[in-house]
Symmetry: C2
Subunit: 279 residues, 2 copies
């Protein structure tokens, strides 16, 4: 089977790497960036780098692994170009706008809306790693709008790299992800800003930064272009989540300013419940 991966970044590249290692799979890559084309070949992520038109002509499955705004724009055009034996899926971190963009498309059934929940803070072809998806979840949205054969094939592909498929409404997906992924990124990015801003003596930060800080600020290394598109496409849910987060921080700050130890401790005891959720 020929599978085209459009976008040789962290997710596209990692997916390409795992799929290429399977027997009877040929992976063709597409990337607008010439340096990324060359790097993807050098790193052995793909069997071949081709242009988009050729990738569409010669692939049974096309995986869109580009920023979410680009998926929203490209997906309807690509659906116009593919045949009834071809399938398009994506790995975009927001689903509502993407699903809406093709909701009335005559070929909607050849698309499977997906989001494998995996990643690191790195980006580009160099960030592509093997087995990134093992043990992780893949969210599929509006599965009833996909043709049975298309859904089956896409599910098998994601399962083959170690993902478990789950099903969710696009707006539920976007709301949940705002809290358990997008908000974490904003929280990290702004933590990075705060520390960079105040601590002009960078060598001191370096000396004092503990593993706790490194863990909390890790996501601030993520790709700004990828994440600005995600935040823009999920801005309502994210704004609500961020508003709630700011409210809690203000409540905590007031307790600190008031030297109200009982309140700071009570809030932290409540937050400890996260242990029950994340083992």
């Amino acid at each position: 089977m020929n599978i085209a991966i459009v976008g040789m970044g962290l997710i596209g590249g990692s997916l390409a790497r795992d799929l290429k290692s399977q027997i009877n799979v040929k992976v063709v890559g597409v990337d607008a960036n010439e340096a990324h084309q060359q790097l993807s070949m050098e790193l052995g992520l793909v069997d071949e780098m081709v242009d988009l038109d050729r990738a569409i002509r010669q692939s049974q499955v096309i995986v869109l692994a580009i920023p979410v705004d680009a998926i929203e724009k490209l997906l309807p055009e690509l659906l116009n170009k593919i045949g009834d034996d071809q399938v398009i899926t994506d790995v975009g971190s927001t689903k509502e706008f993407i699903c809406q963009a093709v909701d009335n498309h005559p070929r909607r059934s050849r698309y499977v809306a997906a989001h494998p929940l995996a990643g690191t803070e790195y980006s580009g072809p160099n960030a592509a790693i093997s087995h990134l998806f093992v043990g992780k979840k893949n969210i599929i949205c509006e599965k009833d709008k996909s043709a049975e054969d298309a859904l089956d094939l896409v599910e098998r592909i994601f399962r083959s790299v170690g993902l478990t498929n789950l099903y969710m409404h696009p707006s539920d997906h976007d709301k949940h992800l705002a809290y358990v992924s997008h908000l974490s990124h904003v929280s990290s990015f702004m933590l990075g800003m705060t520390v960079l801003d105040i601590e002009k003596d960078e060598s001191q930060i370096f000396n004092l930064a503990s593993t706790g800080f490194a863990s909390t600020v890790r996501l601030a290394k993520s790709n700004p272009k990828t994440w600005s598109a995600i935040f823009a496409k999920n801005n309502e849910h994210l704004s609500t989540a961020l508003g709630s987060y700011i409210d809690y921080l203000q409540k905590f700050k007031k307790a600190i300013d008031d030297k109200d130890l009982l309140m700071t401790e009570a809030l932290m005891i409540e937050a400890n419940d996260i242990k029950k959720i994340l083992s």
Copy 2:
């Protein structure tokens, strides 16, 4: 040499474990909690659990590994009780109030103010692990106020478990730690609260929580009692840091609400500079 560790938690227990493994070191533990006393013996963290008075009588070095408010209270009393051949040090995460509490103490020179920058989100004797301190930094404050022999001995002890000793003014220590440690903890604790609060369907969080979220919220599992004491003793620096963090989050929220992609991207590009600091 006999070393007493007062407080068999994450830091005290880990330090006890590493020191006990050295030849010619006998570690005696002290803990007010009976279950922790028993557990420390069962886990083999110490050679013996004794009461505080006995620990002081029979130890050359006494390490205070209890909450910072308890250190501040206990340290002056203990200095009154020890001889000229004994040394007290501590591992408290704030240094200014502790140093002030003994600044005019006639036996100040027998105390070495220290803070090994290491830890995990776990607490109690069960959290004690070997080699926790390897490759980490230990901050020593006001080294000129310690007797030469006391400083030398404490430095050797911390070096022996893998720490590198650095020197810093107590207020600089507290200010820096507010940014690179205490703020991270608040940020994590309140992120945990936000997600717990909104996502009543906990199984959904569990299904969707990615490694990024887990990393960002990890510190929310930390011990509320330990951290409420730290926050109270560093409340001015932490309040400033937290205020700055909230300002950045509000700026980011406004950019999201305004759909100002250029601004969100610009802020994230700036935050990416954290890469240069944390490799």
